[in-house]
């Protein structure tokens, strides 16, 4: 893409063109150098929006809850962006992105932008590009940004590295109190939602979650994650979830935790980007055959070999190119 076309695309973006925003997300997602260039410019305009992560098992109602929450925020005249991630097949590279099925009515709202994305190889519940799409929609002027993970079981905790408030959506019937006490995803929720609360055992799940949460402060702060019941398709209980989000936001802002948490997340993101760059450099033409032979003959151990590789990288200039 030429610099003229790129400039034009940016101008359309700043005029509020959804087509331009969508094309920029595509450029970023497919690792086009133009996408990286645009992102550099947009980054300084981002950071205004408040990011809400929605995670939980497949079929727990993440998209339906998101749909209901967005509708409530629209009543308050907020501009909202949604990035919804579904799994990419590790076998064919294809994906069936079905989160829009629950959000059909929002498509026509001029102040709502919804984008579906495949994980494209990332196993942490989000795609790499989902983070970048959030930056784009943030710069697009969205006051609230939702990021919905793939159906997440136990260890997909990426969303905590992206969102200000993480909502963990659970449903009755999936397991006992041991499941609720396990490490991983249960540790990242700022708000717990028991959806499909009209089903039997919903109160039992609420008790499991509450007793787990009461046992220990999970976060670095005084926030006690609430456990809320919803029937998302009816909108029942969703207002309380929104109130919970706002309360958590106030808590983060008043305690100053929002700054330290965002800084911590950015640190993790920069480290992740370093890892990606290093991986890319290593996979691109690194002459490792000789080193590998030496490791194979037990002349060299893998740790030392890795250090040799890293040292050989640091001498080279890292081009401003997209991984």
């Amino acid at each position: 893409m030429g610099s003229h076309a790129l400039e034009q695309l940016l101008q359309e973006f700043y005029r509020g063109s959804k087509m331009a925003a969508a094309r920029i997300i595509s450029l970023v997602e497919r690792n086009d150098p133009a996408g990286r260039e645009i992102l550099k410019q947009l980054y300084s305009k981002s950071g205004q929006g408040y990011i809400i992560g929605i995670t939980g098992p497949a079929g727990s109602g993440k998209s339906t809850l998101t749909d209901s929450l967005v509708k409530l925020l629209r009543q308050q005249n907020r501009r909202v962006g949604v990035v919804a991630v579904d799994p990419t097949s590790p076998f064919t590279g294809g994906a069936l992105l079905g989160d829009r099925v629950r959000m059909g009515e929002l498509s026509l709202d001029s102040e709502v932008f919804i984008r579906s994305m495949g994980t494209r190889g990332n196993l942490g519940g989000l795609s790499w590009a989902a983070r970048d799409a959030l930056v784009v929609l943030d710069a697009f002027g969205c006051d609230y940004l939702f990021v919905e993970t793939v159906g997440a079981g136990q260890s997909q905790v990426d969303v905590a590295r992206v969102a200000d408030t993480v909502i963990m959506v659970d449903v009755p019937g999936l397991g006992d109190d041991i499941q609720a006490a396990k490490a991983g995803i249960m540790e990242i929720g700022d708000i717990f939602v028991v959806n499909k609360a009209d089903r039997g055992d919903a109160d039992k799940l609420v008790r499991y979650l509450q007793s787990t949460l009461e046992l220990g402060q999970q976060n670095d702060d005084e926030w006690q994650p609430p456990v809320l019941k919803t029937i998302a398709w009816q909108g029942t209980g969703v207002e309380d979830v929104l109130k919970g989000i706002m309360a958590h936001r106030r808590h983060l802002e008043q305690s100053g935790l929002i700054v330290s948490r965002r800084k911590q997340r950015l640190k993790e993101e920069v480290i992740l980007q370093v890892e990606r760059l290093v991986q890319m450099r290593l996979s691109e033409g690194f002459q490792s055959e000789e080193v590998l032979s030496r490791v194979y003959c037990r002349e060299l151990d893998p740790w030392t070999a890795a250090k040799t590789m890293i040292n050989s990288l640091s001498g080279k200039k890292c081009e401003a190119r997209n991984p």
Binding site: M19, A21, S89, G94, A95, L96, G104, S107, I114
Partner: protein, 132 residues
Amino acid sequence: MRKIRVLVAKVGLDGHDRGAKVIARAFRDAGMEVIYTGIRQTPEQVVAAAIQEDVDVVGLSSLSGGHELLFPRVAKLVKEQMGDQVLVIGGGVIPEDEIPALKEAGIAAVFGPGTSLKEIIDFVHTHVNRAS
């Protein structure tokens, strides 16, 4: 290789979504990213979704009629709002003699019952414009 993004949609009141789901699955297995909208969408909703998803292809499915009005409406809106490069295709139970009018209205291809999935996938691979 650039990944092809396809929006599969059902417009109008027709709720027969078996065909759309089979096609969506076939596109998925062909390595494409398929955004499925679900049933009972208006042409305006379909195009708004196609824009936000920046798709290369819009695939419409119909069983019980209405396609003669709804398909051209989608094609017109896609052309107006997204330009010529987006491929609009249709399929389902569509009488032979109505196909020329649909093609005239901008539906690049109409696939009837019995069409092999391979034929549809090949058509998409051949006709998707990846210049942009």
